[in-house]
Every structure is written in C-alpha cells, then in structure tokens.
Amino acid sequence: MKIFALTGNEFTKIFSKKSTYVIIIIALASCFLLPFMNYKSANISHDSYYTQNLNSEIEWTQNTLNVYSDINTRLDNIMDYCYQTASLQILNLKLNAGITSYDDWRETESYNLINKYIESYYISYIINDNKEYIEALEKSGSLSEYVNQEALSEYLSDGSLTKLRQRYDALQSEITAISNAILNNDPAYFNQYYLTQMNNDIAQINNSIAETNKLMAQTSNEEEKQIYSENITELNSQLQLLNELLVWKQYRADNNISRDAYDWRNICVNSIESAINFQYQLPYTKEQFDEYSQYDYALKDMTYEDYLIYFDNQKAEQRDIITLYTYHLDNNIPPAQYASSTRMQLQSIYYVITLTALVGIIIAAPIVSSEYNKGTIRLLLIRPVKRYKILLSKILAVLILLIILFALFTVIYILSNIALFGYEDYSYPMLSISEGNIVSKSILETILPVLLKSAISVFFIASMVIMFSTVTKSTVLAVAMPFMFLAFSGLMGSILIYLQYYTIAEYTIFAYMNLYDIINQTGTIGNMILNNPSLNLNVNIGFALHLGYGLLMLILSFIVFSKRDIKN
C-alpha cells in the first residue's frame, strides 16, 4: 500500500534530523531519572530545618528563662515560667533522642509530656510549701486547670498532701517511662499506654452509666427520668465507640504496630480509627448547617437535603475504608499509596503523558509547515499521490511514533522504579472496594487503564499541533499554541469551576486535560471535584471531547491541505 511507503518517508524525514534524537534521548533520560528525583526529594524531607529550628528554640527558651531568674518577674509570670521550663526539658529530650524530622512520631509524643511536667511542677510547689509560688499560682487561677482534681480537692479541703504525693510520684514515674520510651524509640510502650488509657476511659463511662442508672432508679420525677435516660443513651453510644476503638488499641499492642508516619500499618490503623469516629458523628442540624454553609466552601451551594445525602455518602465511604484497611492488615498487603515506592510511582507515572505530548509538539510542529517554509512542498505535491494521503501519512507517522514513545516512556519509568525499589512492591495487588466487596487487581491492571484512557490527551494535543502546522504554515505557532493549551488548560478549568460555571466546565475540554486527575481525584481539579458535590466532571465525556475535538482539528487540516493552492 502506498500509504505505508508514504508513512515510511515521513519517518525517514523525522529521523534524519539530529534534533529528533536529542529530544527523544532527553525524554527517555528524564523518564529514567524521575523516580530517583522523587525518591531523593521525599527522603530529604526537612531534616536540616528541623535541627536548626530545634537549636534556635532551645536558645530562645533559655533566654526567656534567663529573664525569669529575677524572682519577681518569675512569680508574675508563673504559668509561662513553668511552661518554658517544661519546654526546655522536652526540647532537650528531643535533641537527646535524636529526632531529626517533624514526621518522627516521637515529636508529637514528646510534646504530650508538657502538661505532665507542668502538673508535677505545680504539685512540687505545694508539697515543698513554696509559699510565694503557691500564692502566685492561685492568683493566676491555673492550679485547677493542670492539677489532678481529686488530689487537689483533698488538699484544698483539709490540707492533706497524701494524694498529691501519690500523684506526684505517679507523674514522675510516667515522665521517666515516657522519656525513656522516646529515647529508646519504643512504640510498644505507647501502644500499651494508650490501651490502658482507653480501658480507663471505658471503666469511667461504665461507672457513669451505673451511677446514672442508680439516680434514675431513685427519682420519681418523670422529667428527670427522661433526662437520665437520654444521658444513658448518650453514654452507651460513647461506650460503643470506645469499645470499637479499644479493639484497635488492642490490635496495636498485640501486633506491636509502629507509630511511624510512613508505616502503612500505622496509617491503616489511624485511618480505621478516624473512620470509626466518623461513624458516630451526627450530621449538622438544619440550624448548624445554615450557619456553617456560609463559611464552608464544600457546603456552599448545597441545600440541606443535598447535605444529608452528602453526609451519608461520606459515612459510607468511611465504612468502606474500615472494611478495606482491615482486609489490608489481615492479609498483610500494604495499600499501594502507602508503600513507599509504589506510592511515588502512582503519583508520577502520568508524567509520561505530558512528556509524550511535549515530545509530540516538538516533533510534529514542523511536519507540514516546514514543507511550505522550505519550499519542499513543491517537490512533494507534484507526485501521483492525492494530497489527503500525504497528510494522512504525516499524521500516521506522528501518531505511531507517539504511541511507541509513550509505551517506551512507560516501560522505562516502571523499570527505573523497579531498579530503585525492587520488584516486591509491584507484586502486591491493588485493593479497592466496590459495593462493599473487596476488589483485588495487580498494580498494572489498576494503573494502565487509567494511563491509557488519559493518554487520549496526547492525541488531542498532536491534532492541535498538526492543525496549526497545516493551517498557519507556522512552526512557531504549532509549538506555541498547543504548548500554551497544555500549560494553561488546567488553570482555565479551575477558573471555570471557581466561578461556578459548572456546565461550561463539564462540556469544554479545559477541566478534562488530565483525565487521570478526574479518575483518581487528585490534583487541583480532583480536589475541586471533591469539594464541589454539584460539579459532575464525567471522564467519558472528557474522553469523547478529546477524541472529538482532535478529529475535528484533523478534518480541518485535511480540508485546508487538500484544497489550498501552493502559491509560494
């Protein structure tokens, strides 16, 4: 067939230019290097920052404490004095524990020590009978805020220090234990600690329920009975929540789950815990909704009825998360987005689409215009070949080349990830949930359909390049216009959505430029979809728009190319 020979010719032309090789080599190299660049930037985090900040905080705290060496100043600012003293302890603990990042779980746990320190200082003033300090504290009114109620009230009623002493000893041993756990980087301690706390909380609620029951039995007033009964219902609901959470505290303790922000097990348990919490939340009342919807962007143009549906959907989503992550944990499968290597790969593999489009712009831009500009068109179009065949061969050459490059970029990108993280991560299946059931697919099965579907934008951009190249005969325009479209369509889409031109956004191409963002609900547009429940960006419409506009531009190119007189 002649069209094959013609397409072959176009390939010869493309690959006779040195610039083609340069561009392709740069693109291939960037595919290979991108995972490494991601890896580096993810691991640098803000270590140097952290240590810098820590040192300057210590310096600042010490300076503040120097000011408080004057006894009167200290007493006037007794709360801050105690706070700063406790801070210094904690900052030094962080330094000694070798914490170097805000992502380190011990960062938060250290900070939680501060109240314990402050309470212990306050109690020590009382025990040691430091009159000025006690007076200053009473003046500031902060004693009851920090010191254990029971021990304090005993002291206040009869001056007995027994309970305060007990409390003080308990605090001291807790502070020591926690500090040691932080220094030794020992999450097991905290797992146990929070488990115990949860058990205490549950015991307390049980107590409250028992007491309320007693009160209810004693009273004969129907109105009071009603109130008690409502209280009990409320308490029972709380109890149920805590019991559900207790299961997971127990799970953490039993399975020695780390508290590392990057450990997928920890993330799963955290997500499950917050999803459980959500199940016990009530939707806003109509009044609350009317008030909050003025400020909350997400609720802005919803009716209360919409909101209730929206709330139910969110609840259902959270329920799915519980099911899904429980399955992940039970089967020891890390969710892809939390497994260090695949997470990065998932976020960035769509880069190959943009890369292919960019290479396409550069390679395709001169494909028609340069024949006109260099005058070779006069030797090209005097052949026994209908003009549409010549343009078709050019389009075919561009599309075939881009398909090959797209495949090559994808493969190299994946190989580079494997080189960096090993194969194991790829062997984990990707789990999702559909109508309450777990769906398990391989990583490629999950990514490739999204990647392929989104790649239609390359066709759209390539068609635009060919159209500008043909119609304007200008290589510069054929590069500039599609490039600008690629760079600014997302912004245009965001602006349309921001201005609430939802229908325009839904039926023009701008918001659909990155289809994967719509499918995965990532990126700016993805966030907007999440936050605008009345915005319906349909992936299939987006796909059809890319295809349709692309074809229209090609048809226009065919008409112009076939009909136009060669006057130059």
């Binding site: 013609l6 006069r378 030797l379 052949r383 060669i566």
Partner: protein, 308 residues
C-alpha cells in the same frame, strides 16, 4: 499523434486578477517546448497547474490522455518536474532525497537510482548531505528526481536560473538526449531567450497571462513575408535620413545605432523607405536585414507595430 500534454482554454485567477487567461497549447512526445515570457507573465502559474500545485479555475489539462481534474494520480504518474528552485531536504543526503521521491512513485529498481545519479554526474557526492551541495549540484539533483521514474512529460520552470554556462550546456544535452532517445516531452519555461533558442523545438510566448504565439524554430528561421524585422541603413546623411524615417514611422522606432540608421520594418516598408531616401538625395550604401532571432519574435509578440 496524441500530444503528451494538452492545455485547453486554461484560466486561473488570483482574487480578481486573471493571471492565466484562456491558454491552450500542446507538447508532443520527443519535443522540447519553450515557454517564454517576461517576469510576471504567468509561466509559473501555468506550470503549477500542470503539475497539480494549483487548482485549475477554467479549462482542462490533459496529460498522456488523462484529464488532471478527473484522475489526478493517473495523470501525474507520467510527470516529472522542477518548479522554480528545486528545494530538497537539506538535512538528508542526495540519495535519501531521491529515495523519498522515488517511493512516492511506487517501486523503482535500485539500478535506476544509480543510473540517474550517474547521468547527472553526482555519483561521488550523492551520499553527502544536500546542505553541502552547490546550487548547480542541487539543480542536477532536481533533474535526477524529475527523471527518476521515467516520466513521459518533464516540466522545468526556469531551470537555467543559477546554472553556469557549462551547466546549461549539460542540461541542454541531457534534455535533448532524453527527448530523442526516449521520446520525452519537455516543457521548459524561461524569460531568457538565448538558451531557449538552442534548446527548443517549439515556442509558446506568453504575455500578461495570454498565449500570444506558438512557433516552430523552422517558422522563425525561414521568416514570413509580412514579418517585421530589424533593418540597418548605411547612409551618407544620417540626420536627414532620420528625419525622413521619423515622418513615416512611429516615434521611437527609428534609431541611430553605431552610425547606422536602424528600424523595425516589414519587407515592403523597407523597400518603400529606401525609395523615399533615394528621392531626397540621400545615398544608401547598404541595407542590412538583421538575422531573425527569437528575440525579434519575442519582442514582436509582446509589442507589435503597424507601418503606414
């Protein structure tokens, strides 16, 4: 014999301007047809219609029996051409260029490439990038791509532009050889006459879009009775004689060139004027009739004059 190329009442307008106006002529097999006219006459426009670069507004172009409008591909199968300068792909070698064009004509045997490369004397440079070629070499590569597929019609638009005299001679010989040996029909346009005279069998002269005359070389050599030619009179009283000529001829026609009186006249007018000179006592030593060249044809066709 059916002509290889036939134009029937072909017209082309650019906007409101008629650039080619009702042009008809034909080129036969084995014939080299010169298409002559000053710059802007419409030669390139006509040729571009023949090779399919421009659409035909009116009329019909038939190549080897096939109407271009009806079957574009079949008609152009037998055409080779260079329109204005041959702009080749400068980032490719000469051979790659030939291959690119060759493939557009179907399969051309490898020997044919070597043969044509040899013919245009590019054998030792054919695998170099075209950007390193001189203008003459490009012109030769242009000829090679035009003849590669053994067309029946060769169309060359101002092929002598940028060629040195040796190059022009080579081109002339190549064309003549192909015309004689293979019966190639050649349409070659130019605004330069001297080269055309040596090259062409027939001439079409175009001016302001209209074909004014078609003549064979033989027509021109023999001349015709009422043809206007250049006459030179050697006389004793130049001024006086000039006065006589001015009386009978349009201003500007009689001139004094190298001490002789010169004018463009018909045979009849020359004899009449001679008699007038003799009557006014002017000695006429000799009358020379300048040999009839294409130049005369060309000028005559583009601005004719009547003698009263």
């Amino acid at each position: 014999m059916t002509p290889v190329l036939e134009l029937k009442n072909v017209s082309k307008t650019f906007g409101k301007k008629t650039v080619v106006d009702n042009v008809s002529f034909s080129v036969n097999s084995g014939e080299i047809f010169g298409f002559l006219g000053p710059n802007g006459a419409g030669k390139t426009t006509t040729i571009k219609m023949i090779v399919g670069l421009l659409s035909i507004d009116k009329g019909e172009i038939i190549i080897d029996g096939t109407s271009l409008k009806k079957d574009f591909e079949k008609a152009l199968r037998n055409v080779g051409g260079i329109i204005e300068n041959p702009e080749l792909y400068s980032y490719m070698t000469g051979r790659q260029n030939l291959k690119i064009f060759g493939r557009m004509h179907g399969s051309i045997p490898k020997e044919r490439y070597d043969e044509i490369i040899q013919k245009v004397k590019l054998s030792n440079r054919i695998d170099e990038k075209v950007k390193k070629y001189s203008l003459g070499m490009r012109q030769r590569l242009g000829v090679a791509q035009a003849l590669l597929h053994n067309p029946k019609l060769l169309v060359l638009d101002e092929p002598t532009n940028g060629l040195d005299p040796a190059g022009i001679r080579d081109l002339r010989n190549t064309l003549k050889e192909y015309a004689e040996k293979d019966g190639l029909a050649v349409l070659v346009s130019s605004h330069l006459l001297s080269e055309m005279e040596l090259m062409c069998d027939r001439f079409g002269i175009i001016d302001k879009g209209a074909l004014t005359d078609v003549k064979t070389l033989k027509d021109i050599r023999l001349g015709k009775e009422n043809e206007i030619r250049n006459y030179e009179f050697d006389v004793d009283q130049l001024e006086k004689a000039f006065g006589v000529f001015e009386k009978y001829l349009t201003p500007g026609n009689p001139k004094i060139v190298d001490g002789r009186l010169s004018a463009r006249l018909s045979k009849e007018a020359a004899a009449k004027l001679n008699a007038k000179l003799v009557k006014t006592d002017i000695k006429v030593y000799s009358i020379n009739q300048a040999s009839h060249t294409l130049e005369d044809e060309y000028i005559a066709a583009t601005k004719s004059e009547q003698i009263h």
